[in-house]
Amino acid sequence: MTNELSRERRCALLAEAQRAELMELADACLADGAQVRLLVGPEVGCVTAQVREPVLAQRFLLGDVLACRAEVEFAGHRGWAMRLGDDRAAVLAAAVLDAEAQSGRPLAADVDLLCERVASRRELRESREWAELAPTVVEFEELT
């Protein structure tokens, strides 16, 4: 998975990772004293959900989703992250990990391993979810 992970895919998985695992790995990345500089945030705001409805294929604005973003320069590389919710520390850690992965520094592979764990967890969650939902599939009989 490590070789195939695109920047966007990595960002998406870091957006889904748990706070504790992000912060633990980010702390480890920062432990060697590499310079880190905040470029944006971390700031809490909204992402406006724009939907293209399927009937006339017209776009409309459904509403806002709470989100948090950060951008850093770390060891000479820029890292960016956005996550839903308002956890500033988690999004800052995710931005550091994005920069670590971009830089190819020693823990870059660990960032991708973390992403792999997040992806596996998602797969497991969806399997369990479907196991709960599947018994509710119904075939009503038609009275004629």
């Binding site: 920047r7 998406a12 992402v47 989100a67 839903l84 509710t136």
Partner: protein, 376 residues
């Protein structure tokens, strides 16, 4: 207190607010945590998110707790909170076909593409009140009813089934309204929409409407005085998760930053107008934050009703001007503020009229409403 015509009362106002806080926050009952509210009152939390127009479960739960369970007040708190936040981005257009369904039913057709998935619902069972003495016992380790056959096969078609509208299209039963143009969506949070308005403004207004107001307006449109008689068939109803994507600032490519839950409905309309294609159906669309089926169904029906009758009657105006809970509720609530000066002037007018009548004077001529103003 800065309302016009009265001032002062600060000490009493602070004491009243303090009473709210003390009775609410120090009630002789266990504290309701945010997690408890999102888990046990999820439909209320979803309703608050939808009516506020801001999706975040913990924030909506905090508002619900602060508002002591008053969903409109909670939406007010949430919308006020939202007004303090910057807009970080407008998402890439979300494609509802990407929805991972948690519930999906097609009442119009027995065998649609993909499953009829009841999901988490008590729609088909009697409403009997349960009053347990305490927390229920943990569920047994045995599998849920119907799950004895082992792990369920999970396919893309089951989690993201084809929509009923596409089936109608495939059978040439739906009118084609899609065009090549792609107008920018109207942003009702920046500028109030007034009729005549683009459809995107009406859809946005309905998406954050007060649920009861939308249902009531739908009921009026079906049974009420406007004469917009139309068949009502619910084509499809879904509850599920959609991905939210923004442009990555470095690569310029879309990146998913999370998922949000929505309820979606399609209302099938039997076209019967003289200038309509009576060999096909048309479809109305409803979508709102969270799990709120009544709202999505009402929205879908009102979308098609508005496209057919919105400008030949009052419907578009009603949708744009009367269904926002903060607008209507706020106006109503302001009536509780002191209106001493207003009412005193009304009393003085009555007294002047009475004095004139007692003196045998003719009453002053009634001043007509300005031209063009419809006085009801």
């Amino acid at each position: 207190m800065g309302y016009s015509g009265a001032r002062g009362g600060l000490e009493a106002i602070l004491a009243a607010e303090d009473l709210v806080r003390r009775k609410r926050d120090h009630a002789p009952a266990p504290w309701a945590s945010t997690e408890q509210i999102t888990a046990r009152f999820r439909l209320a939390v979803d309703r608050v998110m939808g009516e506020a127009g801001l999706y975040d479960e913990p924030t909506a739960a905090a508002a619900f707790r602060q508002a002591e369970g008053d969903t409109l007040e909670a939406s007010h708190l949430l919308r006020a909170q939202r007004s303090t936040l910057p807009r970080l981005a407008v998402s890439e257009p979300v494609d509802p076909d990407e929805m991972t369904v948690l519930r999906r039913i097609v009442p119009a057709f027995r065998e649609p593409d993909g499953p009829q998935l009841l999901g988490r619902t008590s729609d088909y069972t009697g409403r009997l009140l349960e009053r347990p003495e305490g927390p229920p016992q943990p569920p047994p380790e045995t599998a849920a009813p119907g799950a004895a056959a082992g792990p369920a096969e999970r396919t893309e078609a089951q989690r993201r089934p084809g929509r009923f509208l596409d089936l109608l299209r495939k059978n040439d039963l739906a009118v084609e309204g899609r065009t090549a143009d792609d107008p920018e969506p109207y942003d009702i949070t920046r500028k109030p929409a007034r009729p005549p308005a683009e459809r995107s403004a009406v859809l946005a207004a309905m998406a954050r409407a007060e649920s009861g107001a939308l249902v009531a307006l739908w009921y009026r449109s079906v049974l009420g005085p406007d004469g917009d008689v139309h068949e009502i068939t619910l084509g499809e109803l879904r509850h599920g998760r959609l991905p939210l994507r923004v442009r990555h600032p470095h690569t310029g490519n879309p990146v998913a930053v999370g998922e949000f839950r929505v309820t979606e409905a399609e209302a099938v309309e039997d076209l019967d107008g003289a200038d309509e294609d009576r060999t096909r159906f048309d479809v109305g669309y409803g979508l709102c934050f969270g799990h709120n089926e009544r709202k999505a169904i009402a929205m879908a029906n009102l979308d098609i009703a508005n496209r057919r009758f919105g400008r030949s009657g009052p419907l578009e105006q009603l949708l744009l001007l009367t269904i926002d809970g903060l607008d209507s509720g706020g106006f109503l609530e302001h009536l509780k503020l002191p209106h001493y000066v207003t009412f005193r002037s009304m009393v003085e007018r009555k007294q002047a009229m009475r004095a004139a009548a007692e003196a045998g004077e003719d009453p002053p001529a009634r001043v007509a409403e300005p031209a063009g103003k419809d006085c009801r």
